[in-house]
Symmetry: C2
Subunit: 130 residues, 2 copies
Amino acid sequence: MAEKKSQKSNVVLRAQLRLMLGDEIAFGPGKADLLDAIRETGSISGAGKKMGMSYRRAWLLVDSMNRCFLEPLVDAAKGGANGGGTQLTDLGEKVLRDYRVLQQEIANITDKHFENLKPLLRDSPLSSEK
Amino acid sequence: MAEKKSQKSNVVLRAQLRLMLGDEIAFGPGKADLLDAIRETGSISGAGKKMGMSYRRAWLLVDSMNRCFLEPLVDAAKGGANGGGTQLTDLGEKVLRDYRVLQQEIANITDKHFENLKPLLRDSPLSSEK
């Protein structure tokens, strides 16, 4: 998710990028962060913990990605006795890298527009009449 | 919402742009479409009908925008005996225009990346094992 906060710290222009395969989110901001965390921790459970989610939730997200792409993005089988734990596959590295580049390009564009939009907003919403 | 569909018609790269003021969505894809519909129909009820939402839902979205920006985006008071019904204010026109330009610029970027990502996906997700 590309976010740009203003000096009015409660104002954010958020661009959420989701790659949909039918009704399933093949890739999006949560899955990208999870891949980063798997690379950092070397395990699905460690990545889930880092992101404040259950092992089951993290596993389901990994399973979803692996079922949507032609090849898995995460290889949990590279562990074992001498293994380095769970790793991203080459495809996982590529998809994550492409997604981050796209996020950055979009952030560069939203930053410009945000400067124009932010002065038009109040500090906080007026109360609703209803 | 900027969407790019592939020849695999079930694959979409969706970029959802939301301008947040605290927890409230000051402006986003639904509100932009509603402003277009208000401009086209000249009324909140007509716009709601066109978008398949209740009058109450459409009114709440208009109220939300009007409470978040320094001035209202929609002026329901320009109607009356000789009035042209509900209209966008100058600020409403400006915000809608800026948002559509931003959407288009983002679509131009996502289109390029989508061409790279789409061949990596299956035609549909594999079934989950669980």
